[in-house]
């Protein structure tokens, strides 16, 4: 029954493609059986929406008269420090960037009300952004100061380029200490007061294609409300993580690097986010279509929350100390019930990833495909899989002796 992406695209063009979300496919296969469903269904859509710190934008502001070389200078966007280390007018802004005068955690927990992620949201919302830059001046780029409003519509290029998104599974965070702690996994109350998790579970892209059999470099995706592409595996991509029998990793594993034109994205799907006591970041919406090329690929997409397990990690001690000790393993089915039993205590659970938004992404992508507006792409190269032999390396610190020269 094997189908090809070209055949599926032909059906999409004719408006005849059969598409289901990764949630709908579970019941559909239960009703029809794998064989029949694999013949009928062409695409399964996935979605995830949550804070993704390794996100950012690069953009080109155009040349001022007289010219200024921002590369090597200092540039602020709404007081948030941008990265100015390219040519004259190219900048990068990361989601975690902060204004110089943000008190950070001087008064703990810091609020982090406005950072890079918020500038990105404001920019994509069409708001004017205040750019203030200083440079050192050269013969060809004499200007040393620039203060101007910039707006997305006037930029030559504005591109969302995220180094690591859409983690395939993730830690579940707890706190066994005596004090409330403030983490990138949210506020964690003492004595296992609550437990926070951070993936969309059965709807999450890489949990539906656990061995990256269809998702690869060049895959066209839903990104930030527009379309984008997978450019590479994300940083910390770790396909070698332990897996269940269904192939699904039991801890954080694969990741994606993604890219897309910011000008066609929307602030609904790129939301400036503040993690109390941790920092500013960006919540990103991503959806990946999975072409149902075989029964095997279909079977992977039928994974349920009850079949996806994640480790519960103590963020008061094990995580900061980089210990691999875990408090236990739980399924997303248990996590989504609102409470789990851990160390004989019933602990309420909360999510940092929005499931309703993940559903909306999967449905939007489904609609685009059914209307013939979104064609699938053939990956130009696969993501490194289990066989790639990647080991996820910690930092091996080497002391710097006083007398050693570079």
């Amino acid at each position: 029954m094997a189908k090809t992406i070209q055949e599926i695209n032909e059906k999409i063009r004719q408006g005849k493609a059969v598409v289901a979300t990764a949630e709908e496919i579970i019941d559909l296969v239960k009703q029809k059986g794998t064989q029949k469903a694999a013949r009928e269904v062409d695409v399964v859509t996935t979605g995830t929406f949550g804070p993704m710190c390794s996100s950012g934008i690069y953009f080109n502001i155009g040349h001022s008269r007289p010219r200024i070389k921002l590369g090597g200078g200092r540039v602020y966007l709404n007081d948030v420090l941008a990265y100015a280390a390219f040519a004259a007018t190219d900048l990068y802004l990361g989601a975690n960037a902060l204004p110089d005068d943000d008190p950070r955690n001087r008064f703990h927990p810091g609020e982090f009300n406005y950072g890079g992620g918020h500038v990105i949201e404001d920019l994509v919302a069409g708001k004017d952004i205040r750019l203030i830059a200083t440079a050192y001046g050269t013969n060809c780029y004499p200007r040393r100061k620039l203060e101007t409003w910039i707006n997305l519509k006037d930029l030559n290029e504005a591109v969302l380029f995220n180094l690591r998104n859409a983690y395939q599974n993730y830690n579940v965070a707890a706190n066994t200490s005596e004090k409330t702690i403030y983490t990138y996994m949210g506020v964690l109350k003492p004595h296992l007061g609550n437990i926070n998790y951070a993936t969309a579970g059965q709807l999450s892209p890489l949990l539906n294609d656990p061995y990256y059999k269809t998702i690869g470099i060049g895959t066209r995706i839903f990104l930030g409300g527009g379309t984008g592409y997978i450019t590479w595996h994300g940083t910390q991509h770790n396909p070698h993580a332990p897996r269940s029998e269904n192939g699904v990793p039991r801890q954080s594993a694969g990741t994606l690097a993604v890219i897309g034109d910011l000008k066609q994205m929307s602030p609904r799907w790129l939301v400036g986010t503040s993690m109390l006591g941790y920092g500013a970041t960006l919540s990103v919406g991503i959806g990946v279509p999975i072409p149902i090329l075989s029964e095997e690929i279909l079977r992977y997409t039928t994974v349920k929350d009850e079949e996806i397990f994640a480790p519960v990690v103590d963020y008061s001690e094990a995580y900061p100390g980089r210990s691999s000790e875990i408090l236990g393993e739980v399924s997303y089915g248990e996590l989504k019930s609102g409470k789990i039993l851990i160390q004989e205590k019933e602990v309420p659970t909360a999510s940092l990833s929005s499931y309703p938004r993940a559903v909306e992404i999967a449905n939007t992508l489904k609609e685009w495909i059914m209307k013939g507006e979104f064609l699938l792409t053939e990956p130009v190269a696969p993501l490194p899989g289990v066989e790639a032999g990647i080991t996820f390396k910690p930092l091996n610190e080497r002391p710097i002796e006083d007398n050693r020269r570079i």
Binding site: F49, G50, P51, P109, E111, N113, G186, V187, K189, G193, N194, I195, N196, V271, G272, T273, S274, M275, L276, S283, K336, G338, P348, T349, A350, S351, L352, S353, S354, Y355, P356, R357
Partner: protein
């Protein structure tokens, strides 16, 4: 008929040093539970109370407060959810101590029950997209 309501009282600076709460108890037979108080001498005072008592006593007590110049708001008005910013992640539901923020198990959307909110404001900074707003 007995009644129990949560109210927010704003005191102008001239009233801050008067024993108004004492009068509510003594003259109007009201039972009160202070949920939040922020009183700075010579400046404005803010008090969030749960007031219980007979309907008639409650009405007279509120009349007394209004007459002496206390501005009264009902509690639900003060903590608001900016629905345009809420992404329904659910990070707030384990933070809210009174069950005013809950997750619908079917839709997995976050519901805000204003009647259960005591305006403790714990959700305000714990909300990642900062959708919970204080309007006193």
């Amino acid at each position: 008929m007995a009644i129990s309501k949560r109210v927010v009282l704003h005191f102008p600076s001239r009233l801050v040093e008067q024993p108004i709460i004492y009068k509510l108890v003594k003259d109007y037979n009201l039972v009160l539970n202070i949920l939040k108080a922020s009183v700075t001498p010579k400046e404005e005072g803010l008090l969030i109370l749960e007031l219980s008592g007979a309907r008639e006593d409650y009405d007279r007590g509120i009349q007394y407060l209004t007459d002496i110049g206390v501005r009264i708001q009902s509690l639900g008005q003060n903590i608001m959810r900016n629905d345009a910013r809420c992404t329904h992640c659910g990070a707030c539901v384990v933070i809210c101590p009174t069950g005013a923020l809950t997750l619908d198990p079917k839709t997995r959307m976050v519901n805000f029950h204003e009647d259960k909110c005591t305006a403790c404001e714990l959700c305000v900074l714990a909300c990642p997209p900062r959708a919970m707003e204080v309007h006193f």
